[in-house]
């Protein structure tokens, strides 16, 4: 299977027929454009694209724990916040920035492994809201701990010596790199034993256990991977934004948006979250620009519409459209 086909191939579904011929050149063009963007478009658009890539990774992280393992971690944004604070605190304490960036996902992964031990025993709804509670609890914990984390007042980071243009470009490429890495990671996962184990336990946990799969290990690994991805971009975001506060670092909206992007793009495929991220960010920026006062209202309506009309995602919706057209044609 060619590289682009592997990216588009949904984890346990059929092929995306008819578009394979376009896939390779399209992908190459897309990647080239993304690499060149900071030199082609203005700062504002670079910022928007950077956000898209960041959200794509968050959505991809959700893809691993929700799409593959079937554990709906609505509160995954907790790792985003953890990543941000790890970088924030580390930089404030004098740790060199690159090391701080590496620390963020490591701490997130450890956190997921530890908290996963009790939480991953919960099923369905319980797990979902437990993660939401975890997210809110982390925010409160930071506020109560205060001290070097800045508590409720927030944590301002030193400005650093890069010029705004240089900084934006650095963050842009970091996020772009993370996004590409996340796609490759999921592509690998789809064909690795872990990926099969996860999908097996998603479809039937008991059945998977009967087949000899260590479901506890598999789902903990999945959550750790998901947390690591989310924590990494959370850390970069913290540094970028320069001022971290509990309310926005642990904003449940981060996971909800990521979840919606994953839904829009299609769960279980490597490139679905990316498509979803592009679509959603562009849509919300356009709405935001036009309807300043009611953009949240429109967002709410969009969410409702997406869930009602395309619960399986844009990708599969298009797939069905193509198939129907081929049958007729």
């Amino acid at each position: 299977m060619s590289l682009p086909e592997q990216a588009i191939l949904p984890a346990s579904r059929g092929w995306l027929e008819g578009t394979q011929r376009l896939a390779m050149p399209a992908l190459v063009l897309a990647v080239a454009l993304m690499l060149a963007a900071p030199f082609l478009v203005g700062g504002y658009w670079v910022r928007i694209l950077t956000s898209v890539y960041m959200y794509a990774v968050v959505a991809q992280g959700l893809n691993v724990i929700v799409g593959f393992a079937g554990y709906h971690a609505f509160g995954n944004s907790v790792f985003f916040g953890v990543g941000a604070y790890v970088v924030g605190v580390a930089v404030t304490l004098g740790v060199p920035v690159p090391i701080a960036f590496i620390l963020a996902p490591i701490v997130s992964m450890l956190g997921a492994a530890i908290i996963g031990w009790p939480l991953l025993r919960l099923k369905g709804h319980y797990f979902a809201i437990a993660t939401v509670a975890l997210n809110m609890a982390m925010g409160d914990l930071i506020i109560n701990v205060g001290g070097v984390t800045g508590g409720a007042e927030g944590l301002p980071l030193p400005l650093g010596s890069l010029s705004p243009a240089e900084l934006n470009r650095l963050i842009y490429y970091l996020m772009l790199g993370s996004m590409v890495a996340s796609v490759l990671l999921v592509m690998w996962l789809a064909r690795a034993p872990l990926g099969y184990a996860l999908r097996a336990l998603r479809d039937s946990e008991v059945g998977a256990q009967v087949m000899g799969i260590n479901t506890t290990l598999a789902k903990t690994l999945a959550w750790a991977i998901s947390a690591g991805m989310t924590g990494f971009v959370g850390g970069i975001w913290g540094y970028w934004i320069n001022f971290i506060e509990p309310g926005s670092a642990f904003d449940i909206g981060v996971s909800v948006n990521g979840y919606i992007m994953m839904l829009i793009g299609g769960m279980g495929s490597a490139i679905g979250p990316v498509i979803g991220a592009f679509f959603f960010e562009i849509l919300s920026t356009a709405i935001w620009g036009q309807f300043v006062k009611i953009h949240l209202l429109i967002l709410g309506i969009v969410i409702i519409l997406v869930v009602m009309l395309m619960p399986e995602g844009l990708l599969f919706y298009l797939q069905r459209v193509f198939r129907a057209r081929e049958k007729r044609g």
Partner: protein, 402 residues
């Protein structure tokens, strides 16, 4: 058939017309663009809109007087305003947009120190001068930022006027409770108040910090009750101040005075509490009775009248502060005779004078060494300034409640 052939021509003609109509006028006026990312929705929508109207008031007055003069050119003031939905991240994003896309030359800051924390980092990086009268948290001015200025008094002094008033009251209260939400500005207020109070010989017998959005303060009120202080100071915002006063009344806690760091000026507060608001003291940055003057306004009453005429309602201190920021910026630009942020920043440190809102002389850290505050008390349903005595409209009532 005829229609089809002409269609492309028509389309072409229309496009050309559209291009011409949309093209910038080659003889465009000189424009001074000032960016404003501010709360026009969300938690701080009320305060954000007051502040924005203040900025606008100055812009209108300046333009009516011919604009801002630099050299031999007159610059028309244009405010580029975006809604940050009371979110720090959004405000930061918008600030960057204002600087890089809209190419504003200066910035007027958002409401709330928390949000300003995020935007100040951006404007400082790009070295664009920002004046933000509502960003009064002390930590904004300890970071060594050069391009961030605030004409109003800082957070730690927020409750000082009340403490000073109580210091003069007879009989002087002995014990005090200080409570507030756990947030940037309120914490500044609370810490500053405690220091001042202890310096003046008060005994602070009870302090409490509650979560920012706490829906219920009966436990705090219970704590206050058992500590039985003579007076209570609260550093929070409108919403929790309302809750607090209600909770204190429910538990029949009867201090001799209640002093708030904010809120008494805001009409919501008074109408939400009804008769329970009577006697409560609050700290104000401004009242229409002040007598400072500047080139546009002879005194604060004139500002209040003109504002009322322009916007249809009386101004609050946020609006006054906003307008004053514009007046100060204009003074600095005219002193620097330049629109370059670095030159204007230098000028900011050299100018001093009055606006109807406050006298000013800026320190290198961006603070105004001449900023002051005063106490208002709700007497017969209306807020009246009561302290310091030289600008008081009425004598203060102590004990405040019957």
């Amino acid at each position: 058939m005829l229609k089809a052939r002409f269609a492309p021509l028509a389309a072409l003609a229309m496009s050309v017309l559209a291009l011409i109509a949309g093209a910038p006028d080659a003889r465009a006026q000189n424009v001074l663009k000032i960016g404003v990312a501010i709360s026009q929705s969300g938690t701080f929508v009320r305060e954000g809109e007051f502040l924005r109207d203040g900025y606008q008031m100055w812009a209108d007055k300046a333009n009516a007087a011919g604009g801002v003069k630099v050299g031999d050119k007159n610059y028309k003031v244009e405010l580029v305003i975006y809604d940050d939905a009371s979110q720090a991240q959004t405000s930061a994003k918008l600030t960057e947009k204002l600087i890089t896309e809209d190419k504003v030359q200066f910035l007027f800051g958002p409401y709330s120190s928390g949000i300003a924390n995020a935007t100040a980092a951006i404007s400082e990086r790009y070295k664009i001068l920002t004046i933000d009268p509502m960003a009064t948290a002390n930590n904004l001015f300890t970071r060594g930022y050069k391009y961030f200025f605030c004409p109003a008094a800082l957070g730690n002094t927020g409750l000082w006027p009340v403490v000073l008033l109580l210091n003069q009251a007879t009989p002087k209260p002995a014990t005090m409770a200080i409570i507030g939400p756990d947030d940037l500005f309120p914490n500044n207020n609370a810490v500053g108040a405690k220091e001042k109070a202890e310096e003046l010989g008060f005994k602070v017998v009870y302090t409490a910090k509650y979560p920012k959005g706490a829906p219920d303060l009966s436990t705090v009120a219970t704590g206050v009750k058992s500590a039985a202080p003579d007076v209570v100071l609260a550093s929070g915002y409108s919403q929790d101040s309302i809750l607090l006063v209600k909770a204190l009344r429910e538990l029949q806690v009867a201090p001799k005075a209640i002093g708030l760091a904010t809120a008494v000026a805001v009409p919501d507060f008074r109408s939400a509490l009804g008769p329970a608001a009577e006697g409560i003291m609050g700290v104000d940055y401004w009242a229409p009775t002040l007598t400072y003057s500047d080139r546009y306004f002879q005194n604060s009453q004139q500002f209040a009248d003109e504002f009322q005429k322009r916007f249809g309602h009386a101004p609050q201190y946020h609006a006054a502060a906003g307008a004053a920021s514009g007046i100060i910026l204009q003074a600095a630009i005219e002193k620097a005779q330049s629109l370059d942020s670095t030159a204007v920043r230098e000028a900011m440190l050299q100018i001093s004078g009055q606006t109807f809102f406050t006298r000013y002389k800026f320190m290198p850290d961006g603070t105004n060494s001449l900023a002051t505050l005063f106490v208002s008390q709700i007497i017969d349903g209306q807020p009246k300034s009561v302290f310091p005595t030289d600008i008081a409209q009425a004598p203060y009532r102590y004990p405040a409640f019957k």
